[in-house]
């Protein structure tokens, strides 16, 4: 019987793991037509310098501004040239070219059970162009020029970058729409025409660090890995060779206003119109969680995938703590959160909407929303069917007579319980002393009856030396053998540990992964300026296809809200979830940093005492000296000399 059960579970495991691989493979829809090799410009120095460089301010001088005198000749010539192209006449309106790009903006607000408010902004720019073929893309309209240049110069196929301040509390807040680890995270798929991926990656991080004013230039080989299974391309493409993938996190990165400003600059409307007027840093950073991200990927234009376009998604997720800012009242409005109200949509946007999640409160018992909106929308998001009240900013009627929109939620009771997230994980360091320790990763499957496989990715810096033979995976007190393990040992000062495994999580269980490590001694110049604060170890990443309670939407081209269309969904019965654990803070043995001074003092003393006496021993000649006469004798001698008598 036991054997039978064992066989059964093994079969299930195999089936599930196979299905994960199939799904992972099928995410990469092959694109009709091959990629042409984009010319890789080889100019490493220029790029790094360019990143930090701002154009010089023109010298403001009396003479420096001149009206341009266009010579008649030039104008005539130009006009003469023009003859072969039809000149657009002022009177006859020539047909307006159809723009090849499209911009959408969206804000989702979800009242959380903890009493906090989750606001998620998404801005999507779609551009029907081809960065991958040889011809140079150089004329930009809605797509930001700086990112376009980065894509074409470094032959990037997919780029995902996120900056996060604070940690997403899955157990209290549920799953976020776009998960992100604390600190900075960057992962990039390069095109298969790139030959020197590491060199390109290095340049790219330097340029991005300039664009986003972040310390991404600290990404080097010691914190970069090439995950083999966890990070598959989210867009279309036929390359899944992980040679072209680079993944790095900087858990120490602090996110603040200087990162928000360049992020806002990438938006076509800047911070002047539409939803972006709400993005004021003094409010956004006065929050429990702040995460901003940029995702660039190629996507299909239609369901047949005949034409492709580039998608730039800029997302910003904030969780506001209402208990501290609401003066005890459970009441919330746009103005309270952002100290702004909305008056218009971004005129460049083709759609501009606010969604407010009212799923938990269908009858209006829990809270009250005003102004009421007749528009309701349902969306499958994260394995759940949610109901939203929608405000369409493109309709003037939304703004009412006061010409401004300020939705308000007033709670009536604080009851209600949350659906526990099906997958959730946490991590901590155990052990005492400064020599060894143990990393514990706990993964919770809260599904009552379904087990599912998860991919765990762990990157550990080289200065924590993992003892991989101590790796244990246990669920429900029993050993749970991972069906796939990819381990790349670290090299000191060169690369980190990479551990990836596929683990089956039994229903309603906790799976614990432990591994022991030893702390290495660093060279004294390798310590950070505040070494006693500890050293960060990036979050583990858990990616999984979680069985869904409701049927998921698999139609990728149907007009769906942006927040529900980020991760491509390939089958109805499950949905993709990525969970990040807490980053770890580990103390390393730190030396006394006044050491060089002590060493100098000590050597000098040793040299002075040791060498001096040795030298004296070697060079001085020692002889017995007559003992000097006593005091009485000397006195007597003085007296005798005075008397003119010979001394004693």
């Amino acid at each position: 019987m036991a054997a039978h059960g064992c066989n059964y579970s093994a079969l299930l495991l195999i089936i599930c793991s196979v299905s994960v691989f199939i799904v992972a493979d099928s995410q990469d829809t092959t694109l009709s037509g091959g990629h042409h090799a984009a010319a890789v410009e080889d100019n490493p120095q220029a790029a790094t310098e360019a990143a930090g460089k701002t154009s010089e301010q023109p010298a403001v001088e009396e003479r420096s501004w001149e009206a341009t005198e266009v010579e008649e000749a030039t104008l005539h010539e130009a006009a003469g040239d023009k003859q072969d192209t039809p000149a657009p006449e002022t009177e006859a309106p020539s047909p307006v070219p159809q723009p090849k790009d499209d911009f959408q903006e969206e804000l989702v607000i979800r009242p959380l059970h903890s009493g906090d408010i989750y606001a998620s902004f998404q801005f999507r720019t779609l551009w029907e162009t081809d960065f991958m073929s040889g011809n140079k893309v150089s004329h930009y309209r809605l797509f930001p020029k700086s990112l376009g240049q980065v894509i074409s110069k470094f032959s990037v196929r997919e780029l995902h970058i996120s900056f996060t301040q604070g940690y997403w509390r899955t157990m209290q807040w549920g799953q976020p729409f776009q998960p992100a680890p604390p600190g900075a995270e960057l992962w990039v798929w390069f095109q298969d025409s790139v030959t020197d991926v590491d060199g390109t990656w290095k340049e790219l991080t330097n340029v991005l660090s300039g664009i986003f004013c972040a310390s991404l230039n600290f990404i080097d080989s010691t914190n970069t890995v090439q995950p083999s299974a966890s990070f598959k391309p989210l867009g279309i493409g036929n390359v899944t060779d992980h040679r072209f993938l680079r993944y790095a996190t900087l858990p120490r990165e602090i996110v603040c206003t200087e990162n928000l400003t360049p992020w806002k600059k990438l938006l076509p409307c800047g911070s002047k119109a539409g939803l972006t007027v709400l993005l004021k840093s003094e409010k956004l950073f006065h929050s429990s969680f702040h995460s901003q991200a940029v995702h660039i990927r190629p996507v299909c234009q239609d369901w047949q995938c005949k034409t492709t376009s580039w998608e730039l998604r800029q997302t910003l997720n904030v969780v506001f703590d209402l208990h501290t800012s609401g003066q005890g009242k459970r009441e919330w409005s746009l103005f309270k959160m952002f100290s702004r109200t909305l008056t218009e949509a971004c005129p460049l946007a083709s759609s501009s909407k606010i969604y407010i999640d009212i799923t938990d409160d269908p009858q209006g018992e829990l809270f009250e929303l005003s102004p009421a909106t007749p528009l309701l929308s349902q969306a499958m998001v994260l394995g759940d069917r949610r109901t939203f009240s929608v405000y369409d900013l493109m309709q003037p009627v939304t703004f009412g007579t006061v010409r401004s929109l300020n939705p308000l939620i007033r709670w009536k009771s604080s009851e209600g319980d949350m659906l526990r997230p099906l997958l959730h994980a946490e991590r901590y360091v155990a052990g005492y002393g400064l020599q060894t320790g143990e990393i514990h990763t706990l993964m919770y499957n809260n599904h009552p009856y379904r087990s599912f496989p998860v991919l765990l990715l762990d990157t550990v810096p080289w200065y924590l030396r993992l003892y991989i033979h101590t790796l244990t995976v246990t669920s429900k007190g029993k050993d749970n053998k991972p069906s796939y393990i990819h381990y790349q040992p670290s090299k000191d000062r060169l690369r980190p540990h990479l551990l990836e495994m596929l683990v089956q999580l039994p229903p309603n269980s906790v799976t614990e992964v432990t591994v022991q490590f030893e702390r290495a001694l660093l060279k004294w110049t390798e310590y950070t300026p505040d070494p006693n604060h500890g050293f960060y170890v990036g979050s583990s990443v858990i990616s999984s296809l979680v069985p869904s309670i409701v049927a998921m939407d698999t139609n990728i081209t149907m007009d769906r809200p942006l927040f529900s269309s980020f991760f491509p969904c390939k089958e109805e019965s499950s949905f993709f979830v990525r969970v990040y654990t807490e980053p770890l803070l580990v103390n390393l043995p730190t030396p006394d940093f006044s050491m060089p001074y002590n060493v100098i003092c000590l050597t000098c003393t040793v040299v002075a005492v040791g060498y001096g006496s040795l030298y004296n021993l070697l060079t001085r000649s020692f002889q017995i000296e007559e003992p000097s006469p006593g005091l009485a004798k000397r006195l007597a001698n003085i007296i005798r000399r005075m008397r003119g008598v010979p001394p004693l």
Binding site: Q45, A46, A47, E49, A50, S55, E56, Q57, P58, V60, E61, R63, S64, W65, E66, T68, E69, V70, E71, A73, T74, L75, H76, E77, A78, A79, D81, T85, A87, P88, T90, P93, V96, P97, K136, S138, H139, Y140, K145, S146, Q149, V150, S152, K153, I211, C269, G270, A273, P347, L348, I600, T603, C604, V607, G612, Y615, L618, R620, S621, Q623
Partner: protein, 562 residues
């Protein structure tokens, strides 16, 4: 007694040997372990380059058409003359211009070409006859009776490297060839001034190296306007739409660049690489509020407020992420509906006809009023197509100015052919190449000499092999560039000078010259003294004692002798 003497002797020997070990083993060991690696640099050649002696040579061919020389003059004609002109710019920079003039008579095909009905046709067919080299010039002397040139025009400067010069009336017959040449000489000199390098251009190109004497404000302004020589430029066209709610602007920048800008840049390809991109910026405001002028029923921007216009826009333009070449910005500003029409006023309160201005070494802005495209009852937003011919005419003129294609003032009696579809005549390109080569040579020489000086001053910077390699390749390219300028091969000279500038910049900005911490000498001694003092003091003291003992003994011996 003898034992103490032996003991004393042994002590002296011991201290002597310790001192010997310290000096023979210790000092070289310390020296070797604290030494920094410094690769060999061609210092003497760099010092030679610090004293820049440039010679520019131009080949000039003077061709006499039929009817300008008499048969006896013609016999003597194939002859060559060399003229030198020397200028000392400052104590380490000297210039020498050499014109190698060849005189000959026209051959039959050239005669045919000169019989064309108009000067432009003659210019074209002369060009097809012989491909003249970069930097060289051909002057055709045509008889006074020739109908090629209009009445009041004496000199016609073509689009290529040829000029037509009408022979003066008084030089008809009966003079010797020397007199004829002496008469032609000042005219040819004038032609050369226009079509080839002129002293003002060259000194302007040297402005990075030589401090120009103040006073000639106009030429300083001219030299300040153009961008510094660089191996590449990024040209960015930005459409500023401060009011996307009312105006939906469409510009066919791709087609316009192909039609208007690309021919010029193709022509300029030997000088630098260019890359073009464009972007549209919404809600980009100017830094000043235009004033309403009720007499014109329009808003105006004064010329003295132009300096403040760009600053807020500049923050949005963004630097080029993909290269570090200088960026030329061209902004097309369509004023918002509330502030149109908008005109730029010059100092005399007059409307600037092009409605555009440019800023030296930065770029240009053009204000494009769109309010005339729609009536008062128009429904916002209005779709507007921008007339790119008008815009590009202005931007092309600004681009020429910013790239340093000078519009020369011609002496009276000169007729300059209107420029072709490329927007640039061959001789204009030559002029640009002359001044760019000189500028590159001067900049690279200054960079290399200051690098050598820096490395010489700070003795403990590590000089890696790759830096030494860059420095020597820069020096070689510089020498080659100078030699090619001397030989009159303009194309090669520019090529080598570009290589020199690239190599010298790479050496100068190499990170390895910076990342090593180097300590000043006093700090080094502060570290060494506690270590060395306890070692050296006993050795020195015992050495002194030995010397004084030896002296005393000698004195005693002498006293004994006496």
């Amino acid at each position: 007694m003898a034992t103490t003497e032996v003991e004393h002797r042994r002590g002296q020997l011991a201290s002597l040997s310790i001192a010997a070990v310290v000096i023979i083993v210790g000092v070289p060991l310390w020296w070797r372990t604290t030494e920094t690696y410094r690769a060999w640099l061609p210092v003497s050649q760099i010092n030679e380059l610090a004293n820049l002696q440039l010679q520019l040579s131009a080949d000039v061919e003077v061709v006499f058409a039929r009817g300008t020389v008499t048969p006896e003059q013609q016999k003597k004609v194939p002859l060559t003359k060399t003229q030198d002109e020397e200028h000392t710019v400052d104590e380490d920079t000297a210039l020498r211009y050499r014109y190698e003039t060849k005189y000959r008579t026209a051959n039959i095909m050239e005669e045919d070409a000169l019989n064309q009905p108009s000067a432009a046709d003659a210019d074209l067919s002369l060009h097809t006859l012989s491909e003249s080299l970069c930097g060289s010039l051909v002057v055709y002397v045509i008889p006074e009776s020739s109908s090629l040139l209009p009445e009041d025009v004496d000199v016609y400067i073509g689009q290529r490297r040829t000029a037509l010069l009408r022979n003066g009336a008084q030089m008809r017959v009966g003079r010797t060839i020397e007199q004829l040449l002496a008469h032609l000489e000042p005219r040819i000199r004038q032609v050369l001034k226009v079509m080839s390098f002129s002293h003002t251009d060259i000194t302007a190109a040297l402005s990075g190296r030589v401090r120009l004497s103040p006073g000639n404000k106009e030429s300083i302004a001219d030299s300040m306007r153009a961008f510094k020589s660089s191996p590449g430029y990024e040209i960015t066209f930005s459409l500023l739409n401060p009011d996307p709610k009312s105006h939906r602007l469409h510009w066919d920048i791709e087609g316009a660049v192909q039609t208007y800008i690309q021919p010029l840049l193709t022509k300029l390809a030997p000088v630098a690489n260019f890359s073009i991109d464009s972007q549209t910026l919404y809600y980009a405001m100017l830094g000043v509020n235009p004033r309403f002028d009720s007499s014109r029923n329009a808003y105006t921007l004064n010329s003295d407020s132009l300096a403040h216009v760009i600053n807020p826009v500049e923050a949005r333009l963004g630097s080029n992420a993909a290269s570090s070449n200088p960026v030329l910005n061209f902004l097309l500003y369509a004023p918002d509906a509330q502030h149109s029409p908008l005109y730029i006023q010059d100092r005399q309160k007059q409307k600037v006809p092009s409605n555009a201005f440019h800023s030296p070494r930065w770029g240009g802005i053009m204000v494009y009023n769109v309010n005339s495209f729609y009536g008062p009852e128009a429904v916002f937003p209005v779709d507007i197509n921008i007339d790119m011919a008008k815009v590009m005419g202005v931007f092309l003129a600004q681009l020429r100015l910013l790239l340093g294609v000078q519009s020369t003032t011609t002496p009276p009696g000169f007729l300059v052919a209107p420029c072709s579809s490329t927007g640039l005549a061959d001789w204009e390109l030559d002029r640009l190449m002359w001044s760019r080569s000189v500028e590159n040579v001067a900049t690279a020489a200054t960079t290399i000499t200051s690098l050598a000086q820096l490395l010489d001053q700070i003795g403990n910077i590590v000089i890696n092999d790759n830096i030494a390699e860059q420095v020597s390749s820069a020096v070689t390219s510089l020498q080659l560039a100078v030699a090619e300028l001397e030989a009159g091969n303009l194309g090669f000279a520019l090529q080598y000078s570009k290589e020199a500038i690239l190599a010298s910049e790479r050496a100068f900005f190499d990170p390895s010259l910076l990342h090593l911490l180097y300590f000043p000498d006093d700090q080094k001694f502060a570290i060494y003294i506690p270590l060395f003092l306890p070692m050296c003091v006993p050795i020195l003291l015992s050495l002194l004692k030995i010397i004084s003992d030896a002296r005393q003994r000698r004195k005693e011996r002498q006293a004994k002798k006496d």
